[in-house]
Symmetry: C2
Subunit: 442 residues, 2 copies
């Protein structure tokens, strides 16, 4: 009998703020970071992490450590063969639940552990996560989902029906995914901190690289946004989509007005126009900016908020995130909700390791849930992939199917050691810079 012998956490940070990679109207100086966890048995290890922006990575690490104590000593088979039950043990713990419930640090920490358990399962079955999920019996998928507080939109029977509907043609779609991958779009050109020259150059490169959409950060200054949007449109032409992303910067009416001022440049979607908790606000914005689409999700705390965004007709695009919610199980719930409301899923992946993780959900979605790639794309940002044992492969604007067994989270030991914060050799070299140690900047 295999038992969970230890749960080990690591605080890993990359000094991305040095180059203003990842800078937007709200996240002005992120140091892309991972609160990383390894769940160990005598002869196995599963990995997971929570993405953060630097300061506070130690808080999430501490939370994973605490939640991890609920797993140590338990039977590994019990956990990885009933991942629905494993997830509920963490998320509905009678005392820890108060800390959310189901939101923020505690929820993300539980999610990292859930993901690490799926990693063990996928490695046992020698499959990448997306293939494991795609080939799993519908009943087992449904059993992994927590339907608490979403039953008025999606019942277990609804979920089964969606998955059953996806069974014909599934084998062919898996083959297709393995052959030609899944569409991507890129945010690489669009960070606020970049010069005009860099914006134009990267936009043209994106087209040359085969991407069908680029994304620009907006919301700092309207005139600047108009200027940058014009440059980008000229650079990519009329046949490439340009989406824009305000990172929750605006009030509701402000969002409507601002987006309409950019309408002449034909943006495809406006992402995070306002607070991620705004069910009613997103619904109003969607009405106010139509036909420009509304997208959100990277900071949507749970399936319960996503459910309401869908019920209220508040979004055109659901942007799931691999480490914001409570792991694989809740992302399956989100995919099923999206299918139920016939809403395309375009995952968020700007960060470290988020591309590596989240691609599995889009591949699974095409194989077994929505069965469609229409208006669906996975975000791609070309940062920090070299630190993972299986870096994403994006060619001709498409993600190629992950092949290695596991969930994609495992980071190279050398990278983990080098960028361990604050003692790793990398941090000793770049020094204790202001972005990490300073406080209070807006």
């Amino acid at each position: 009998m295999s038992k969970i012998t230890s749960v080990r956490t690591e605080d890993i940070r990359f000094p991305t703020s040095l180059d203003l990679d990842g800078s937007d109207a709200v996240n002005v100086d992120p140091d892309y970071s991972a609160a990383y966890v390894s769940i160990n048995t005598d002869d196995e290890a599963g990995h997971g992490f929570v993405f953060t922006c630097g300061r506070g990575n130690e808080i999430v690490t501490a939370a994973i450590e605490s939640y991890g104590q609920l797993l140590v000593g338990l039977d590994t088979d019990d956990l990885v063969n009933d991942l629905g039950d494993a997830s509920r043990r963490l998320i509905h713990d009678s005392q820890l639940r108060w800390l959310g419930p189901e939101k923020g640090v505690s929820h993300m920490a539980a999610g990292a552990l859930v993901n690490a358990l799926w990693d063990i399962r996928a490695k046992r079955e020698q499959k990448p996560l997306w293939l494991l999920l795609s080939e799993m019996p519908a009943e087992e998928i449904v059993n992994a989902v927590d339907f608490t507080h979403i039953r008025n939109a999606l019942t277990p029977d609804d979920a089964l029906e969606i998955l059953r509907r996806g069974e014909p043609g599934k084998a062919e779609r898996i083959t297709e995914l393995q052959r030609s991958g899944y569409p991507a779009y890129t945010t690489t050109p669009g960070w606020l901190g970049y010069s005009d020259e860099k914006l134009v150059r990267l936009s043209k490169e994106a087209v040359a690289d085969g991407f069908g959409m680029i994304k620009l950060k907006v919301g700092g200054d309207l005139n600047e946004d108009r200027r940058r949007m014009k440059l980008a449109r000229e650079a990519v032409g009329e046949n490439i989509k340009i989406s824009i992303d305000a990172n929750q910067r605006w009030e509701v009416q402000e969002a409507i007005d601002w987006v309409n001022e950019l309408a002449e440049f034909n943006p495809w979607w406006i992402e995070e126009p306002t607070s991620t908790d705004e069910i009613l606000g997103h619904a109003a914005i969607r009405k106010g900016v139509s036909p420009i689409k509304v997208a959100t999700g990277e900071a949507v705390a749970s399936r319960i908020i996503f459910k309401q965004l869908l019920q209220a007709g508040a979004i055109d695009v659901m942007q799931i995130d691999s480490t914001r919610v409570a792991g694989v199980n809740e992302n399956i719930a989100n995919l099923l909700l999206a299918a139920r409301f016939e809403t395309p899923v375009c995952p968020h992946a700007g960060g470290v390791g988020l591309c590596e993780l989240v691609q599995h959900f889009s591949f699974f979605d095409y194989a077994a849930v929505s069965g469609s790639m229409d208006n669906r794309m996975i975000e791609f940002v070309d940062h920090l992939h070299e630190h993972f044992i299986e870096p994403v492969r994006v060619e001709n604007g498409r993600y190629l199917a992950p092949q290695k067994p596991g969930n994609g989270a495992e980071m190279l030991q050398e990278s983990r050691d080098r960028w361990s914060f604050p003692a790793g050799a990398g941090w000793q070299q770049v020094g204790n810079r202001a972005a990490v140690t300073g406080g209070g900047n807006r």
Copy 2:
């Protein structure tokens, strides 16, 4: 010039699960706990805490520790004389923001520090917090509020108008509060873990003690709820209100059906019928159970969710909580939102120290915001008050006005030492019981 010299945190827990005090359909075995913080200058100290249910208190303590580093070395006068700016420094920190945003562990941790800064300010002015707020110029109150993402319901001008409207008669209301206090209701009889005999006895005592309302926990078993509700109604008679509280146990339709099954016992409000994040669900439940009122708030993460509950007509009663949101500032925002929507505020206070803290907001609300006590009551639970330097005084069913300078959070040093977890003498005596160290129970 005074500087913040240190921020000291303490993990304080009380073994309340031994007696099933505080047990409900979801929180089956809470150990009432405080992630406690002291902000120190050379010659002053301000106190704050986050209430939790036991496990995970160490996570919040770690989060307060991290946020606290943003304050160490700053000028105390700058902070306590512009508490709006102080709050924004913490809550909108460009890297930490990702951990919420504005929800869960990180938000509560920031709130504890904000509260501790208000404690310093109130002690400097030698006033209890409620009186400090009540006598503060309207402009300074408005400056403390963060209007981000609530401006479509409440602008700074709206807030000023509400406070100006409250100025006539304010001095008289303050005198009235000092003379005769503020109405309370009690949850003491109604915990799920109590025997019938204890339920009936405590219900009768509540009436004898002058309370106008008692509250019962429901949602475990419908037949049990009907039986207990009948016993309670017989014990208190027809002229005392009985409210019921499901602690987020139900799905939306389930809530409507269950509550209607209890309607014959004439419940005053149903509290937390479903997920606290359910804007649309609470609106549906309110329609479905009318004229029984709908109340929620102890787990509402921010003013942004409260705003939407009010906009959607989803609640009859707003239950603010003193340590769930980001401190005094955000609770002022919530009181102003309630006033704007003419919704009564009945604070949540089941926990440790929550009565001591939250009473200040109702006193301030009556003096300077709503100016009304109609259908307004502060929850009272008679647990653990002896650990505070100024325990609440409740007489004849009314809270008496706090008198000591400060926000009410300061706990006796002896209590903090004794119930320090896990090393305090109290914990050494009761031992490492299952409720604290065990995991995974639902």
